[in-house]
C-alpha cells in the first residue's frame, strides 16, 4: 500500500489535479489531500482504482467523468459532485450542493446529510451501467428531474417518522430509473410523468445492497432503515413528452 499526501493549501486546482494525476501514474494506491478549500474538478476524468481522501471543502464538479476511483470527502461538497461520473464511488461525510450526481451514468454517490436542488437530474443507465445516489438527509425540489435511468434513494434519517416529502417537481420528466423515498410523499410534489406507490418487499431488495453500503460508511444499522416504509417513484411512460412534440 503506497500512500501519498498532498497539501492543497493555497493551491489552484490545475496544479493540484496535475499532482493527483502524477501520483496515479506513479501507481500509488491512496492519495490524501490536506487543506482542500474550494478547489474544483478534483479527480475529474480519473481512471483506475486509487482511493482519494479529501480533507476540507472541495469545489464544484468533484469526480466529474471519473471512471473507477473512490473519493472520500471529510466535509461538505459544493455543486454537482459525481457529474457524469462513469464508475467508482464518492462518499461525502457532510452535505452537497445543487445538481448532485447530475447526468451520472455509473458508479455510486453516497451523501451522509442533505443535498441541494436538482439532485440526480438527467441520471441515465445503459446495460450494466446503473448509477446510484443515496442521500442520508433530505433533498430539495426537482429531485431526479428528467431522469432517464439509475437509482436514487432518499433516506431522510433526520426524522424518525418522516413527514410527507414536500418539495415540488419531484422526478419531473422522468422516463427511466426509479426513486425511493423513505416515508410518504405529498401527491402534489410529483412532476410531469412521475407516478408514486408504496414500495413492496421485492422493491426493497433492489435498494438493500446500497443501503447496506451506505450504512457501512456512516455507521447506521441497515435493518433499522429497511424496516421503514418507502415510496417508489417511477415513470408513467418511457416517453412522457411524446404527445407534446410529435403526432402519431
Amino acid at each position: 500500500m503506497s500512500v501519498v499526501e498532498i497539501d492543497a493549501k493555497g493551491m489552484h486546482y490545475t496544479p493540484l489535479n496535475k499532482l493527483i494525476r502524477q501520483a496515479v501514474a506513479d501507481g500509488v494506491d491512496e492519495i490524501v489531500l490536506k487543506n482542500v478549500m474550494g478547489q474544483r474538478f478534483i479527480g475529474d476524468g480519473l481512471t483506475g482504482n486509487v482511493k482519494i481522501t479529501v480533507e476540507g471543502v472541495p469545489g464544484g464538479d468533484l469526480g466529474m467523468f471519473m471512471k473507477g476511483p473512490t473519493v472520500i470527502v471529510k466535509g461538505n461538497a459544493d455543486h454537482a459532485p459525481g457529474n457524469t461520473m462513469d464508475e467508482g464511488l464518492i462518499v461525502i461525510h457532510g452535505s452537497s450542493g445543487d445538481a448532485t450526481a447530475h447526468s451520472m451514468r455509473g458508479g455510486r454517490v453516497y451523501v451522509r446529510d442533505d443535498i441541494g436542488y436538482r439532485g440526480g437530474i438527467h441520471m441515465k443507465q445503459y446495460m450494466e451501467k446503473r448509477p446510484v445516489l443515496v442521500i442520508g438527509g433530505n433533498a430539495r425540489a426537482f429531485l431526479g428531474e428528467f431522469m432517464a435511468g439509475g437509482l436514487i434513494v432518499l433516506l431522510r434519517l433526520g426524522e424518525k417518522e418522516p413527514k410527507p416529502f414536500a418539495e415540488m417537481s419531484l422526478a419531473s420528466g422522468i422516463h427511466g430509473g426509479a426513486i425511493y423515498i423513505r416515508g410518504p410523499v405529498e401527491k402534489w410534489t410529483l412532476g410531469i410523468g412521475a407516478s408514486a406507490r408504496e414500495a413492496t418487499t421485492e422493491d426493497l431488495s433492489v435498494i438493500e445492497p446500497f443501503v447496506k453500503e451506505f450504512s457501512e460508511h456512516f455507521g447506521y444499522n441497515p435493518a433499522d432503515i429497511l424496516s421503514s416504509s418507502f415510496t417508489r417513484i417511477a415513470p408513467v411512460s418511457a416517453r412522457p413528452f411524446a404527445s407534446k412534440y410529435i403526432w402519431e
Binding site: 486546482y13 478549500m37 474550494g38 474544483r40 471543502v57 469545489g59 461538505n76 459544493d78 455543486h79 452535505s95 450542493g97 445543487d98 442533505d114 441541494g116 436542488y117 436538482r118 430539495r140 425540489a141 426537482f142 415540488m168 402534489w188
Partner: protein, 350 residues
C-alpha cells in the same frame, strides 16, 4: 457565473477588507477578470451624517466642474478628495474615482417627506444621464463602494480595501455575459443605503425596468443588476416594506405554493404578488442586498444559482460557495443552504 459574498456583524464590530478580499479571490473561477467590487458600511465615521458620493470621472475638467456645480446648487460639499488608488496590478486608471461628503439642503425639496434622500437620488440620476464623463456609483451615508474592471484581488489592492473598516461588507466577482465588462458595470450597485451584488441573469429586466422607471429611476449601467438596487430603494425605503416582504415581492412563491399556505400567509402573499407583479424577477439569480442595518440574501424561486449561509456568533455570511465563507472565517459554526426564494436576513442589534 459570478461569485458573491457578504458579511454582517450584528454588533457593528468592524472588519477590515483583507478577509473578504481573500474570500472573493478564492472564487476567481466565477469571474473573468473584467469586474470586481466591494461595498463597506461604516467606513466614513468622521463624516457619518453626510452622503458619501463616489464618482468616476473620465477627466477632472469638464465633467467634474458640472458635477460640483450641481452639488453646490443642491447643498454643500463639506470635504472632497480623490479616492486613493494604487496601480500595482493590471488595472489601469481609466476613470478617476473621486468622493464628496455632501450635505443636501433639505429646504430645496419642500414637497418631500424625505427631502435629503430624494435630492441625492435625483442628483445621481441627473449626473448619470446628463453629464457625460461622470458616473455616480455610490451615494449613501457612511458607506463606500469600491469597484473596477479587474480580478477581485487586483481591485482590492487598487483601492487597498484593507485600509477600510466596516461592520458590513458585500463583494462581487463578475463574469459579464450579456453586456460588456466596464467599471460602471462592476458590482456592487448602489443607491443611497442600498448596495446589491448579484449572480445570474434577470430575464424580466425589461418589465422591471419599465416599472421602476415609472417611479422616476433611470437605468443607465447597461446591466440588469442596477434595477435591483432601485427596486429595493422603492420597496424598502419609499414603501417601507420589511426586507422579508421586499424579497417576497421580488421572488414570490408560485401560485400553487400560495394555495397550500395558511390563510393569513395566503392573504399576505397574494396581496404582495398582486401589488408588485411587475417587480417580480424571473431568471436565475442569487442576490445579496446590504443596507445600513441589514444584510439580505435570496435566490430565485427555483434555485438556479447557489447560495450558502454561514453563521458564527454575531456574524452572518452569505456566499456562492462554502469555501469562500470558510476562507473568511475558518471557525464558522453553522453552514446551511436556504430554500429557493427564502429571504435570509441578518440585522444589526446595536
Amino acid at each position: 457565473m459570478c461569485g458573491i459574498i457578504g458579511v454582517i456583524d450584528k454588533t457593528r464590530e468592524t472588519m477590515d477588507g483583507s478577509a473578504i478580499r481573500e474570500a472573493l479571490a478564492i472564487m476567481d473561477e466565477r469571474g473573468n477578470g473584467e469586474g470586481a467590487g466591494y461595498a463597506a458600511y461604516g467606513v466614513y465615521p468622521d463624516y457619518a451624517d453626510l452622503y458619501a458620493i463616489h464618482v468616476f470621472y473620465d477627466n477632472i475638467v469638464e465633467p467634474k466642474e458640472k458635477v460640483e456645480e450641481l452639488l453646490e446648487t443642491w447643498g454643500m460639499v463639506e470635504h472632497d478628495e480623490e479616492i486613493p488608488t494604487h496601480e500595482t496590478g493590471r488595472i489601469k486608471k481609466v476613470h478617476i474615482p473621486w468622493r464628496y461628503f455632501f450635505r443636501p439642503n433639505r429646504k430645496l425639496m419642500p414637497q418631500s417627506d424625505t427631502p435629503e434622500d430624494d435630492i441625492v437620488t435625483q442628483l445621481v440620476m441627473h449626473v448619470n444621464t446628463k453629464i457625460p464623463g461622470a458616473l455616480v456609483f455610490s451615494s449613501g451615508k457612511n458607506i463606500g463602494v469600491f469597484k473596477a474592471s479587474g480580478w477581485p484581488e487586483e481591485v482590492a489592492d487598487f483601492y487597498r480595501v484593507e485600509d477600510y473598516e466596516g461592520y458590513l461588507w458585500i463583494a462581487h466577482n463578475r463574469y459579464p455575459t450579456n453586456t460588456a465588462g466596464w467599471w460602471g458595470g462592476a458590482h456592487p450597485f448602489n443607491l443611497l443605503n442600498w448596495s446589491v451584488v448579484h449572480n445570474g441573469e434577470i430575464t424580466s429586466y425589461g418589465t422591471n425596468r419599465r416599472y421602476i422607471e415609472s417611479f422616476g429611476y433611470i437605468c443607465r449601467m447597461y446591466t440588469d443588476t442596477e434595477v435591483v438596487a432601485y427596486l429595493m430603494d422603492l420597496l424598502a425605503r419609499k414603501h417601507r416594506l420589511s426586507p422579508e416582504h421586499a424579497v417576497r415581492a421580488l421572488a414570490p412563491p408560485f401560485w400553487e405554493e400560495i394555495e397550500r399556505m395558511e390563510p393569513s400567509e395566503q392573504e399576505l402573499n397574494t396581496a404582495i404578488r398582486l401589488t408588485y407583479g411587475q417587480a417580480m424577477m424571473n431568471g436565475p439569480f442569487a442576490i445579496a442586498v446590504a443596507s445600513h442595518d441589514s444584510l439580505v440574501g435570496f435566490s430565485d424561486r427555483i434555485k438556479l444559482r447557489p447560495l450558502v449561509i454561514g453563521e458564527h456568533d454575531q456574524r452572518l455570511y452569505v456566499s456562492s460557495e462554502e469555501a469562500a465563507i470558510r476562507t473568511m472565517d475558518p471557525d464558522v459554526k453553522k453552514i446551511s443552504m436556504p430554500r429557493a426564494g427564502q429571504p435570509i436576513v441578518g440585522r444589526v442589534v446595536a
